[in-house]
């Protein structure tokens, strides 16, 4: 796609379709972000970020066909690998930290749970627990 080129009918249809797909995927990306902010558990947030990564992969591939550059698909492949690795590392680290606090002091989990219970109902009540 060049900026000042005149497009035939077929190319104009392709151009319009790629643009529509990109806009719809961008709107869905923001909706996933709402779930990432809202989700009460940690797993909700990781799942939402994973979904955002998958939608970005489709967007990169569409962009590579729109701009007629073949190397952008390599970026998509590496992004898939990195997002998979990120999920693995985050889950391993989180479970490790959880088990460590459980072993060090058996009462630590009760304190953390009570603090979370005080913080989650409303925004203004969290300052008492901390």
């Amino acid at each position: 796609m060049q900026i000042n080129e005149k497009l035939t009918a077929l190319e104009a249809v392709y151009h319009g379709m790629y643009m529509t797909v990109l806009v719809v995927l961008a709107i869905m990306l923001f909706a996933c972000l709402i779930r990432a902010v809202k989700g009460p558990r940690v797993a909700d947030r990781i799942v939402a970020v994973n979904m955002m990564g998958t939608m970005v992969m489709v967007m990169i591939t569409v962009l590579s066909l729109l701009l007629e550059e073949g190397f952008l698909v390599d970026i998509c492949l590496i992004y898939a690998l990195v997002s998979f690795l990120a999920v693995i590392v985050i889950t391993k680290v989180y479970v490790g930290v959880f088990r460590e606090t459980q072993q060090n002091s058996p009462g630590a989990h009760e304190e953390i749970r009570n603090r979370n219970a005080l913080e989650t109902p409303g925004m203004g009540e969290g300052k008492e627990g901390v």
Binding site: V73, C76, T91
Partner: protein
């Protein structure tokens, strides 16, 4: 041959549209379902099928290229990697949740589950006979 171009447009466009619809259904499921494990189920299945349809449609647009081979590699890698990350996330959720009994049924020992299934089979076998 211009008819092939229009066939390619319709076929590829239909597949990409199906992929977008599946992503929309998955997005609705993420917001509507109750618990984190249910949402994980919707996300994993929707992601895999949505990206497969979208990338196969884009492969049809691209023609017989090296780019097409790379897109196929992305799909195959995601088919292998997505179940692994879903399994790890479910293990994270089950391990770190103190109040798991409120959301799903928890068996401490596998033998209790086997005993329940055996009793259920005996009851249904007795009703049929």
């Amino acid at each position: 041959m211009e008819i092939f171009e229009w066939i390619r447009l319709i076929l590829g466009g239909g597949l990409v549209l199906c992929g977008l619809i599946i992503f929309l259904i998955e997005l609705y499921g993420i917001f509507h379902l109750d618990y984190a494990l249910n949402r994980m189920h919707a996300a994993a299945m929707g992601d895999t099928l949505g990206i497969s349809f979208s990338l196969v449609g884009l492969m049809i647009f691209s023609g017989l290229n090296f780019t097409t081979l790379k897109m196929m590699l992305i799909v195959i890698f995601l088919w292998f990697a997505s179940p692994v990350s879903s399994h790890l996330l479910a293990a994270l959720e089950v391990t770190t949740n103190e109040n798991l009994k409120e959301h799903c049924q928890v068996y401490d020992d596998l033998k209790i589950l086997e005993k329940e299934l055996k009793e259920e089979k005996e009851v249904t076998g007795g009703k049929e006979a």
